[in-house]
Symmetry: C3
Subunit: 426 residues, 3 copies
């Protein structure tokens, strides 16, 4: 009975058209062209590599898409248990007329060809969004993205600031900033001015969020004095490995938070990733984490900017209770989806239970797809909806005797309503 | 079938009259007078604030109880998903004839008036305890509480020592100690003598436990030498922000543990809270935690005092496995309930499963309410009993084919039997 | 229906004959002689002690086996809830004709006598293995074990290296190394040479793995220079408490990893144990852990030895997500069973769910018994099989509509197939 109830709730939730509040979609090429665009997603290349295939097999220069897919298909026998491969099967069945349970040496070529044909249809992008029940998609834009040539109502800009904070000592980043803003970032005042220009540019083009991913060691603090002095600036940014690097990173981070306040943009914090832990790994398959991290590191920030909303994503599942508790206490902290290594049903379900039990319902962003290509919204949101429906069924309809309508209303709020209210998407 | 079994077990467990081994009840005013006493509980004010209402709205000076409740009721639409609000609904239905599922703008005034009328009945305290199935209640007493004017058989004193350990550098605390004991705490020997007097006073008035809450950074160690020397004493206590503060805090903590041994009092350790993380929060809604804490920090303590029982509560859910393991190895470490941010069904159920699977059954204190007003014992213990019944049903009756009686016997032991034996409540 | 499905899967999985990839079996005395060998397992003595019985009662010199069992039986009333005691009951019912649900004052003597009689049968070892569905068993051999006098096909040697790395400053360990290899370990070159001889010896006798248990603080790094210099060597090894101890430990550890590469042996890392946390505890009942540990500490190692497979066991359950993620990214990191304080159903089930959802199926070693006596393989593997069957039923057959055969094939691979392929057991 519980199973039928879950299905009923899931079916209803699937009817709701969604806004996806965090993706890596390229708005100039949002959908895939071949199955290689889909199976080239780092989830498959890194798992294939982990299961035994060499990096050179996968990343051979000049490899044509079909050969690449053929090679990756060989690894699937070691990966069919993973939820990531279940996404692949699910999207192939949804979009490309695939009717088998597994992609194998004997059926992949037909699938490949069918997919190519489907993706070649001129309105594939629209079809895919429509079939996926998605109408708007947040982007992750480099700070010097011109933000032109696409529909910013459908593809909502988001200012990603990792490079500014963590790679400002890299001359190329400073050059990009100069070029984007017309301001040479040679002093703290000039850097601040340049960042202000970025915010103006982004907001003018409809940006609805600022975002950054942060290593477990990061612990922002209020800069002393009103601004960085010349010495710290030089030490922090111009001398790459200096001790003051942290001071410089912190100062830029804090300056960005100040502009979020000024421009009324939520600041997405994606907390806990260590970059390049496995440098010999495949593209985008090199990052991991250290579970020894705490939101207490963000105490000063949360207190200093009560007017800024911080949708927080945590990489380590052990951070979820802190996220629940900080969102329960701080008005400006909001739970944001299930990120990366925590984005598997075992953790989504536990984390969803705790959030729905203890965080105000208007402060929970249920899910984002984090996708690079549109085809992934469907299976990823479907996975989340199944977890959500299970928790709603077990903890609310059965456990607390809510009506199904009341449970669905809660589900719809975390799936869509809060995305609208928190990011002010009209 | 599993669901009916759970219900059957829960119904049986509910018949057992309980002793609540940790509360913040004021024995001179144990029950509520209006719904404002209930909805003024920090769980509601902090959640209401977190969901959007300003602190000044909630804590406006001179606010009359009914207006305050009216303001908080407006927030409930954002909070009805939380288990904390489910406690509120449950107690209103149990005690005040409330028959709706939600408290809203249109039904709260009648509820308020009904509650006032009920609470005005002269025997409301007795009624409430009786209906809640509670007969005795542990208190949390300041060290200078005279402990008079109430029935210490019903309201069992407990010596709370946070101020002595963590605020001894505050002259007011030292004055309170002098006043309570007649001893000016101007040297280590005098402090020890004064603390000894507190223990005598508390034990004479029927105290059954000593208790303290501890920050994640605390790591007690055996003081070197038999006592603190004069220099350390001055540095540790009289100079507020000195480096030796830790030495001083540690010395008092250790001295308290020595008196627990001498007076045969269990020492409740409530591990992991950071105070005033959100200083702009509402009253009692400012504390949070850092999950990076370990019971290894208490290794010296547990080894030094084998004769003292330490009922340990942990704030971070990630600490539960350590708590299970330390209780499995150390004879003097006992699991103590589900504290604060871990006191939601998602975590209670996981933690209860692990404890029942791996800790001796005579070393588990199932639950305490932590309540400030008597009305909360019913819904909080009910929440726990449902979790307990589910684990007993699934893991013992179904999973291990125990009879229902055997499972109930285990349930009764963690609910009541161990409270009697561990705290020596006769 | 789900329950029947789980049972069906479990029954099928139980038919598979297994290789146990980590135990502490003494191949010269693999099975028990009396119930004291079984109830003397540290799981029972430490739990009995924890529940109230004194260490001297359990470890009284000259205590005869039957009296010892009688004393331990008295504690069982406090322990019958534990999964460890459920193993005991289960093995007594399986092997010794025991038909009760609990071992008590009134039935233990008959059980004791029946067990003695059964164990005295000349082929008890063979019977026990056969009934348990186990055909081969990995050992944990001291580095100076001669590895003779037993069937190394049945009892597969494994080189345990804790003493070399963590107790090399102990002169006795260096003497044992000199004696075992004929090389006085008086310089880095000689130590390397001696360790090389150990590897030759072990591989010649059919060793299939090298293993070590590691404290939470350990964080290996690539030694600077090609080898340890004379000064570091003396400081690191010959002066017991010197600051360079860590350098010395690290150098030996790294040298062992180099030999694992050379001899193509997987290197089992058992991460996270603190030794002698409760030094007054019973034999083997003194160790605990600190959950503040991360696999990031092994980043250099995993990168430096891509050709070495590292089957990783973690003691803290909070480490499981890191283990899942590191195994998903690093080709040479493999998940290895459920160790010690994580070896209870509550954690096995959660951890198994996450692993099966996100780690390539060819990189998961489902379980090892860690047993000291053969009789424990049956109840421990049975516990694991029930957890595994539940996850396969819920997440794969029901959740992802796999056929039962497909689910069983996954189950068989983690139970046995991967043990064969990862350890190259033919």
């Amino acid at each position: 009975m519980s199973e039928l109830l879950e299905q009923r709730l899931c079916t209803e939730l699937t009817k709701l058209v969604l806004i996806d509040p965090h993706t890596h979609i390229n708005p100039h090429s949002p959908a895939s062209k071949t199955l290689a665009d889909i199976m080239g997603y780092h989830y498959y290349t890194e798992l294939a590599h982990s299961s035994g295939i060499s990096k050179s097999q996968i990343e051979e220069p000049g490899l044509d898409p079909k050969t690449k897919v053929g090679r990756l298909v060989e690894s699937l026998k070691n990966l069919d248990n993973t939820v990531q491969v279940s996404w692949l099967i699910e999207l192939c069945r949804k979009f490309f007329g695939f009717s088998d349970d597994r992609i194998t040496a004997s059926n992949w070529e037909k699938l490949y060809d069918n997919a190519v044909a489907k993706m070649a249809e001129p309105d594939w992008e629209d079809q895919c969004l429509k079939q996926s029940g998605i109408e708007r998609v947040f982007l992750t834009n480099e700070f010097d993205d011109p933000l032109t040539g696409f529909d910013t109502k459908r593809y909502i800009p988001c200012l990603r600031t990792d490079d500014l904070v963590f790679h400002f000592t890299n001359p190329k980043v400073r050059e990009r900033l100069a070029k984007a803003t017309g301001i040479e970032p040679t002093s703290p005042a000039k850097v601040r001015q340049a960042i202000g220009k970025l915010f103006e540019h982004f907001v003018r083009h409809g940006a609805k969020a600022c975002a950054i991913s942060l290593p477990p060691s990061f612990s922002p603090f209020r800069p002393t004095g009103s601004d960085l002095d010349e010495h710290q600036f030089n030490a922090g940014f111009l001398e790459a490995e200096s001790e003051s690097k942290t001071v410089g990173q912190n100062w830029i981070f804090w300056t960005i938070a100040e502009f979020c306040a000024e421009f009324k943009l939520p600041f997405d914090l994606m907390i806990g990733v260590n970059r390049r832990v496995y440098p010999a790994g495949v593209f985008q398959g090199q990052d991991l984490f250290d579970q020894r991290v705490s939101l207490i590191q963000y105490k000063d920030l949360f207190n200093a900017f009560p007017q800024v909303i911080f949708p927080v994503s945590v990489l380590a599942q052990v951070s979820n209770q802190e996220l629940v508790s900080y969102s329960w206490i701080f008005p400006n902290v909001v739970t944001n989806a299930h990120w990366w290594y925590s984005n598997i049903p075992a953790y989504i379900e536990l984390d969803t239970k705790a959030r729905l039990q203890a965080v105000p319902r208007n402060k929970q962003i249920g899910y984002y797809s984090d996708m690079y290509k549109l085809e992934f919204a469907w299976p990823k949101f479907s996975m989340y909806r199944r977890c959500l429906a299970r928790v709603l069924a077990q903890d609310f309809v059965i456990g607390r005797r809510w009506s199904e309508d009341e449970a669905l209303s809660l589900g719809r709020q975390v799936l869509r309503g809060n995305v609208e209210s928190i990011f002010q998407v009209d």
